[in-house]
């Protein structure tokens, strides 16, 4: 693509970042209060998700019609046993949010793992092999790019039958094109470098050059990109759940809680508000950490 983009939007397009030594990266990272706050929030969210069955006071599925629409504890009529109130069938909102974190994080991380595997592989091949393979792969990237991702995910999740596995697979296989683009651009730049030339002159095979010399040099971009992509995947999963094609009704998810809460927004504001705040906090934390990682791993700054 003969288009020059502003550096902060596609920061890896032309330049190749070399990972600086670990301690310097960490110092630059830790220097930023926003990133530390993000880290802290993330630790809380991950910890809560892992420990969900042991730290929640109520079963997320237990209904209690006498307790329905209990407001949060600080509002009149609140009950200390239900700090964030209860929903339309009397389920504890806080417990459901904590359990919902499991789905969000699981989908976010696994979908990105799939995207990274597919995108990095295709990007490496596209950039290193070039020629016809490059044309084909980049055309597929262009095609994928032409669909609003959420729409494509929506259609395929519905057709394949909504389930946790389907959501992960579909988000994974519709979100890889960014990795392919970035890795390809980096490989194209790296290919001309002296150390690759030297490796080739030593008679090292293509596959080995690719895996031992090219791939490690793209790691920092991949780390940054995938961190930010986890945030996107969490938002996408929430949107799918909200639109009714999520991972099913058996386990609470944040998007589904907001969808149910929308119908009761005039009588119980807390129903959609708190799950949304949970998404906001989690995604914001990941974005803060990811953005700082980008600055810390980029030797130019």
């Amino acid at each position: 693509m003969a288009v020059s983009l502003p550096s902060a939007v596609l920061p890896y397009a032309d330049d190749v970042a070399r990972a600086p030594s670990g301690s310097r990266t960490w110092r630059k990272f830790a220097h930023n209060p926003a990133a530390l706050l993000g880290m802290l929030i993330l630790l809380v969210v991950v910890g809560a998700a892992l420990a969900a069955p042991w730290i929640t006071r109520h079963d997320p599925a237990t209904q209690s019609l006498i307790r329905r629409f209990t407001p949060p504890v600080w509002a009149p009529g609140g009950n200390a046993a239900y700090p964030l109130g209860t929903d339309q069938v009397g389920r504890d909102i806080l417990s459901r949010i904590i359990h919902g974190a499991r789905i969000s994080l699981l989908v976010g991380v696994l979908a990105v793992v799939i995207s990274v595997l597919v995108g990095v592989t295709l990007g490496l091949v596209s950039g290193f092999v070039g020629g016809r393979a490059d044309t084909v792969i980049m055309t597929v990237v262009d095609i994928t790019w032409s669909f609003p991702q959420i729409l494509l995910a929506l259609a395929f999740v519905a057709a394949l039958g909504p389930s946790l596995v389907t959501v992960i697979l579909v988000l994974g296989f519709t979100g890889w094109e960014r990795y392919a683009r970035v890795v390809r651009a980096e490989v194209l730049a790296l290919r001309e470098k002296d150390f690759i030339e030297a490796a080739r002159a030593m008679g090292i095979g293509s596959a080995r050059i690719l895996l031992r010399h090219v791939l490690p040099n793209t790691f920092s971009s991949i780390v940054v990109l995938s961190t930010l992509q986890v945030a996107q995947a969490i938002l996408q999963e929430a949107a799918l759940s909200f639109l009714g094609v999520g991972s099913g009704r058996t386990y609470p998810t944040w998007g589904q809680m907001i969808a149910l809460g929308r119908d009761f927004v005039s009588v119980a504001w807390w129903l959609p508000t708190f799950p949304g705040l949970a998404i906001l906090a989690t995604v914001l934390a990941i974005n803060l950490v990811g953005d700082r990682l980008r600055d810390a791993l980029d030797p130019r700054v």
Partner: protein, 304 residues
């Protein structure tokens, strides 16, 4: 120049074929779409539907037929509404495009001045505030933002309608919602394109010859920052349409997005395919137009 346009046209054609293939695959992703559409029907009825849909033919034949029909705007009749799916989608297209255009305008009206100012005052309080807001905006699920706006403006203050698309008052909240999704994205692009330009020699020269600061920014810098701005905005168009789909669902707006979401729940595949295909075609067209515009605006390529 001509060679470039021809290459782009060929690429456009290939992408359109690819988009058609992906749309075609939606129906077949389930394995047996008929089992999804009528799970409890007797086998005889299912066989009849399979026959009617031509599902017995080889996939290649089916695909060729699908392409042929798609080119003439024929995606079959909606299973649910019993009228051509294409018409259903086209009826609702103006609403979706209006929503997208309105929120793009609002988002640009915010992002352009704030982004430029933020770049000029890089690192100052204004810039940090703007950057913080961008982070916040990019981390909010768009459907939740919509519900929160409903909660405040419709439920709490009773100023604006909860849903619909019939009056100008009902347009306000959806437009604002979609803008909270779009504006941070644009603001980031404006800011970084300006920052890329502001440090260049010719800007310094303009300053050195005594041109006033706002003329330097407005005339010299902004003009050159506009190119990447247009390009990246075009590249993000698919994302914006995706946001519109979700916003329509939140506010029950009779647009293409809501139609598709409804059709997906009813497994009304012709409507889903027609909707997804036509929205993708809009993205493809916009990207193509941006490509040409880029060549036209960029003298470096135009001369070649």
């Amino acid at each position: 120049m001509t060679a470039f346009v021809v290459r782009r046209l060929i690429r456009l054609l290939v992408v359109v074929i690819g988009v058609t293939l992906v749309t075609f695959a939606i129906l077949h992703a389930s394995g047996d779409p008929v089992a999804l559409i009528m799970p409890e029907a007797p086998e005889a009825d299912r066989a009849a539907l399979r026959q009617a849909l031509g599902l017995h033919d080889p996939l290649a034949v089916q695909f060729a037929r699908f392409v042929g029909r798609a080119l003439t705007g024929d995606f079959g009749a909606s299973f649910f509404h019993r009228v051509p799916a294409f018409g259903l989608v086209m009826e609702r297209m103006p609403t979706t495009l209006l929503l997208t255009a309105l929120s793009m305008t609002l988002a640009l009206a915010i992002a352009l001045p704030v982004g430029v100012y933020s770049a000029v005052r890089r690192g100052r309080a204004v810039d940090q505030l703007a950057t913080g807001t961008v982070f916040l905006g990019q981390s909010m699920p768009v459907f939740w933002t919509g519900i929160m706006l409903i909660l405040l403006f419709s439920v709490q203050w009773r100023m604006l309608p909860v849903s619909g698309w019939s009056s100008w008052a009902s347009v306000v909240l959806p437009t604002a919602t979609l803008s909270t999704f779009t504006a941070p994205l644009l603001l980031r692009i404006v800011r970084s394109s300006m920052l890329d330009v502001i440090g260049l020699d010719y800007v310094r020269t303009a300053r050195a010859k005594g041109v006033s600061e706002w003329v330097v920014i407005g005339r010299h810098a902004l003009k050159n920052a506009a190119l990447p701005l247009v390009t990246v905005t075009g590249l993000q168009f698919g994302l914006l349409l995706g946001g519109a789909v979700i916003t329509e669902t939140v506010f029950a707006i009779p647009g293409v997005g809501r139609l598709i979401v409804g059709a997906i729940r009813q497994l009304d595949f012709p409507v889903v395919q027609a909707g997804v295909f036509l929205l993708a075609m809009i993205v493809v067209t916009v990207n193509f137009a941006i490509d040409l515009l880029y060549v036209y605006l960029n003298p470096q390529i135009r001369v070649r």
